[in-house]
Amino acid sequence: MSEEIKLLKGNEAIAHAAIRYGADGYFGYPITPQSEIMETLMALKPWESTGMVVLQAESEVAAINMVYGGAGSGKAVMTSSSSPGVSLKQEGMSYLAGTELPALIVNVMRGGPGLGTIQPSQADYFQAVKGGGHGDYKVITLAPSSVQEMADFVYLGFDLAFKYRNPAIILADGIIGQMMEKVILPPVRQRRTEEEIRTQCPWALQGKPKGRKPNILTSLELSPAVMEDNNLRFQAKYREIEKNEVRYEAIDCDDADYIIVAFGSLARICLKAQEMARGEGIKVGILRPITLWPFPSDIIAEYAKKVKGIISIELNAGQMVEDIRLAVNGAIDVKFYGRLGGIVPTPDEILDVIKKEYIK
């Protein structure tokens, strides 16, 4: 199997990509709008082909702790859920970060708070990029805006997670999860052998050979001095990730008077609005952060010096806009437009917002 073109839902693409990546395990719990991920995995039965373990856990809490255990043994393991379920996973994610274990978590966001709605939302931005659980930690956050990226980011997410021994999130939403698009499935990789895990992840639990010290994976440290050192090490790693791993897409920004910053599915809708605006002679560009953490602050700060306006458009009450404002540091007034509760704005609506804000 080299590359393969398929028509897939975003959720299905995640499942296909996980198997092709050579993931060792998936542990999940059903919740709308992401249940197709586990359903697809169960239908594809990868345990018969690649040996990948797929297990429906008793809860999101159990699922993320299965991921924690699997990751501890050096395996490429993942889970997926939607907003309320991801809240439950925060305990495990904090442990993954505190124990420096690689893992992939998919959040196909729906509207909240509480049980909320099953319709799409981006209201878990803060939860994803600011840590989410207890303690000072960061999770690499990838925001796909196409079904293709749902597949590609399984690879990118796992690769970054292992490169930095840090959990990574694919922060999608109900639109990307449920829509179907053409996907070029990435090339098949083999699952790593025990020997490869031994060399690549010398920290992994594999049973202690005579002569090696025990591998002990824990986030617990009662000595404040050592705990501070641990935290400083994490922070140094986070600075390294911020330096190396920022990803974004800038569309027609170089001659733009106004820049829309938007991520995920909403960036696609904004792109249509941008095309319409250009059609009317309004010079709008789109800046789409692909990594929400690390956030593309530098490029936004650069554009802030050149353009007349920046507006953040989100499916929430204004979360990413705070990071944009931090990035521009007062150089320009950053406006915000958002829809809540599962409402998705149309391209027309966004064009009207641009006109209302800037073309008076």
Binding site: L7, R268, K272, A273
Partner: protein, 183 residues
């Protein structure tokens, strides 16, 4: 080329699979495609719709406020989407249960009595394929061979015996669609 299509009706009418077969045919022809359903409990009753975009170029928004082709299969959908047809665009409606028909003067209006036909054929499952045939007749966005290949890939193996039946329904749909207003 870019066609933005929405199909709307009741849940359970096979709207999502209609859209999927159309999108898959586009994929077979090397087009960019996007299939965006309304999702949630409406799949099991109430209203459902699916937006299908086929394009030679990268597709921006999967969510639209106007369409080249609007296919409405019940009164609420007709009322909801008639105004979203682009000027010069096309609306296709099934007359079954329709009390008031489209009134816009700036669009093409086609009627397909697919529900009646499905009942006459004694095959309620043929309904969505009749509609698909009608769509392809007035908006030949993909060719029929691609649709047949798409059926093979979209349907589970155990349903492949139904492909000839589906093909027949598609061809029949092409025959029964009628122009009411062409601009």
């Amino acid at each position: 080329m870019k066609k933005e299509i929405i199909v709307a009706g009741f849940g359970g009418q096979g709207i999502l699979s209609l859209g999927k077969i159309l999108a898959h045919a586009g994929l077979i022809e090397g087009k960019e495609v996007t299939w965006m359903p309304s999702y949630g409990p409406e799949q099991r009753g109430g209203t459902a719709n699916v937006t299908v975009i086929l394009s030679d170029d990268r597709i921006s928004s999967p969510v639209l406020n106007s369409y080249d082709v609007v296919v409405v299969l019940n009164q609420p959908s007709l009322d909801r989407f008639e105004n979203d047809v682009k000027p010069g665009g096309t609306i296709i409606y099934d007359s079954y249960g329709i009390r008031h028909t489209p009134t816009r003067k700036d669009i093409n209006i086609y009627r397909i009595d697919a529900m009646d036909e499905a009942i006459d054929m004694g095959n309620a499952r043929a309904f969505n394929m009749l509609v698909l045939g009608g769509i392809l007749k007035v908006c030949p966005v993909v060719n029929t061979e691609s649709i047949v290949s798409s059926l093979k890939e979209s349907l589970a193996e155990r349903l492949h015996k139904l492909i000839p039946e589906n093909e027949k329904a598609i061809l029949r749909g092409m025959e029964i669609i009628k122009a009411e207003q062409e601009i």
